[in-house]
Symmetry: D2
Subunit: 294 residues, 4 copies
């Protein structure tokens, strides 16, 4: 199978379940909602070493937010026992502190709810009100009032959808990955949580040499080790690859993001091969077969 002359590996991406909250941040302008979203989704690339995975899902028109102001929707992905703490800390430290923000539940129809009681910050001066049909708390702050919902729907979504963009050199692979991220940004319900949406250093679980570390470089996919590592999976003519990792609300949107991203990457000159990562089914229950998606 080929797209625009680029061979698509006959393999699948393996993904696993994660709990996901969707937070709608509004502010006086889109820029201020965006500033808060960037801070709240930072230090959140991979659940291996970060407290959660998080990213910007979409920009929202004022017509599509509960309070009629510009907004940004973010996803926060974590294990069920950790997601409440992450919501409290990231909303409390990164959004309430950001100028003019309000926060609303972005999954109001979810059956499962997480309480995020931040109104104590008001020290008794807080009060309840209604905004856009939502019950919110208004908390007096130095810049005026913060408005926020305190219950957030969570759903069991998909983490780790992925594909590899391989290039004849590093810049071709990078721009292919960037084109993929650009394309995925228009797909609803997903995030790419790594820096700029791209992973430069995919890993394997554990280490062969250093038993004390949880993850190490995936030497079979390292182009500079192609001649040194038996069984290298780096195709001939490939000198660099980047990985796109996608978390999303359900299988359908992760699959759509993968397909959209792969098609876009294949339009970039110098992109020579597309594959995906799996661990033979040992990691998780979701399989995204590239040839079926495309």
């Amino acid at each position: 199978m080929q797209i625009n002359g680029v061979p698509i590996d006959d393999t699948y991406a393996e993904a696993f379940p994660t709990w996901i909250a969707r937070i709608i941040i509004t502010a006086v302008t889109e820029e201020w909602a965006y500033n808060a979203a960037v801070e709240a989704t930072g230090f959140a690339t991979s659940a291996i070493g970060c407290p959660c995975e998080a990213g910007i899902e979409s920009i929202l028109s004022p017509e599509d937010t509960p309070d009629g102001r510009p907004g940004v929707a973010i996803l926060i992905c974590a294990a069920k026992k950790k997601i409440k703490e992450q919501l409290i800390e990231r909303i409390g430290e990164c959004i309430i502190t950001a100028p003019t923000t309000a926060v609303f539940d972005g999954l109001p129809d979810a059956a499962e709810k997480v309480p995020v009681k931040l109104h104590f910050f008001g020290d008794g001066y807080e009060y309840k009100k209604e905004v856009g049909g939502r019950q919110v708390w208004a908390i007096p702050i130095m810049s005026g009032e913060y408005i926020g919902e305190e219950e957030f729907g969570i759903v069991k979504g998909v983490a780790g959808g992925n594909f590899f963009v391989m290039g004849e050199n590093q810049m071709a692979a990078l721009m292919g990955a960037q084109a993929a991220v650009d394309a995925i940004s228009s797909v609803c319900g997903v995030i790419t949580s790594f820096p700029g949406g791209i992973v430069s250093s995919g890993s394997k679980v554990g280490s062969n040499k250093y038993k004390f570390i949880p993850a190490s470089t995936n030497e079979q996919y390292c182009p500079t080790l192609r001649e040194k590592v038996p069984g290298s999976k780096v195709p001939a003519g490939i000198s660099a690859m980047f990985e796109i990792v996608i978390d999303g609300l359900d299988e359908a949107c992760v699959g759509e993001a993968m397909a959209t991203g792969i098609r876009a990457a294949c339009m970039v000159p110098g992109v020579k091969f597309i594959s995906a990562g799996n661990f033979g089914g040992s990691l998780g229950p979701f399989k995204f077969e590239l040839h079926k998606l495309l």
Copy 2:
């Protein structure tokens, strides 16, 4: 004392010591160095609820980086016992994973050094080399090689330098705060770690009503509570205020940032008063008297 007609309160900002590392991130273009810096400094507004305080200190020309590539310098501020873990996690999860990055120590002359051994990620395929006179590790990764120093100088710097920008309404105060942040961005050795550089909801230690929380709204500075709270410190005619909080490598640069930021804020129409926050000297040893700085 007035600047451009804006009264400057006769008070001081109280600040306290923190340990600071300065990381130089380089990449193939400035944009990619910046993407890594944004991820690595996210979720890092305040040491109260975040694992550290962090922010972008400056953009570096290729002429000013060890490897002759575009760069961004970030500061990471934390207690001494926590800074090593933060360096490991933020470099490991947010910078090594970012496309084309390399990392160098931004305080090579500091007496105190922190080891940050990330080369184990190479699983034995890593090797030492020299780049720009620095001893670095080269780690094979899927996109090529990651280059990084593994020892970072740290200095005892200053956290919590601050001032308040008060406005006749919220938008005037916000734009005054933004002008201050714009001005501070040209001062070396400092960061403003909050979202977009601005704090909308300054806090006090503890709570009068809810004994179980570590911090709560500073009701004496809440404009909407001006008539309700005895001893309110909100001046007449002020309906909103934002705080700028500055961390920096030493007292001199924090003072310069405060002065530069205050002067810029006072140029914004509708800004009506400048003050600063202190706790009567109980919080920390550094006092920045506004009238002396300006």
Copy 3:
């Protein structure tokens, strides 16, 4: 009539016909399509002193462009006799010169067509091919090949849809205008051609004092002249106003943009009045009555 407590003037915006072309610019990434679009739509605020009016209409997903790459759609608005020259110059100097761009007609169903023969630049080495069902020219250039359609649909659209955002001070009015521009960016078929989408210095035709100039400040709407100019139209309590000017493909989309923008502006604290500009019907045939739109 009020929105969020802000009175809406019982008046109308007067607008006039213009010819409009819609150009789809694609590139290897969204950023490069955007860079070309910014250059091509610069120096194009007002037909009074600029050679045309132009702006970015929307960001296009690769799924929505003829060649499957990220894209940006721009509108170029001019009199019929000038639009061909503007298309030739702006595509020729600002888009063909931009890295990796291709250009497609964004109004393929328009009855009226303008030929824009740029393939002569190929000096005989150019050739025809098909991309995404479009007949295009491929021109050899130093960076590879430029791909472009050479016939562009034009429609008789609407120029000068407008409204005024008035504030209790300048920063409130500015942020209200910014929120309006943010909201309008999600409406299809329209642009706001002024810097950042906002006009700070609305004008009247001609001048009372200087007969040799075509336009001058609209003194009846200048807040600093409120006490000096008989018949000032500046409402009490207003100290600044900004104008949003909208060009669009038809009356419906200009009306939708006005309504969406006004609603967003009214959410900004300190915005106190919304009005619109007209010349009593002498300027053009389109009337957008604010109370009907909202």
Copy 4:
């Protein structure tokens, strides 16, 4: 001669004189100064088809502007007889119309001055005042007052400083060119006026086949024509090249920009050759020999 393993052609860039004005735009925040600068420097890539060449020279701290506000300096380059008209139109249509802007002469020590009388826009309500030691006009406008100097120094500078970044494929060449632009942005006194600072389609004067056009593709530098054009100057192994064109206030700063940019481009993997464009001395009096610069 090689830099980081990249051969530097033993040739020179040929450049020619141009008149240059330097405009300092200030605004309430850096973003608003930048918005005005982008509009005012658009449609200004090349004097061949645009009314002038223009670009952003530098971002200015409030400490470095006449009115203590954030600023952006732009350069406008044109023939002497055209520069006045360009200043009038671009300041009048793109900067006075932009929110909160003021304009100051950025070359106050230049011997030659150009009057730019925009105060007539005030229709008699304008008045003189002093700001930061400059004599300016204050013009009442709808958003408050516009402040502007009306005399601008111009100097005889250098247009057309250039170099070619050649890559083993298109993406490597593009990223090399981008790294060069990033590096040049820190050099004072220069601009790169093309979209994103990069030229994708360098031209020759006239055309061999179509006598009626002023410029056409430079077929000797087109990689896809390497086998078809006798005497092709495309080195073996090069499949794409981009040109960086630099205008600057004097020979020294153009030379510094060229050297800084070339060094940065050579750090990008896949960049394989650096050259420069000249017409054998027939175009202009300035020669920048690459080997002497570096």
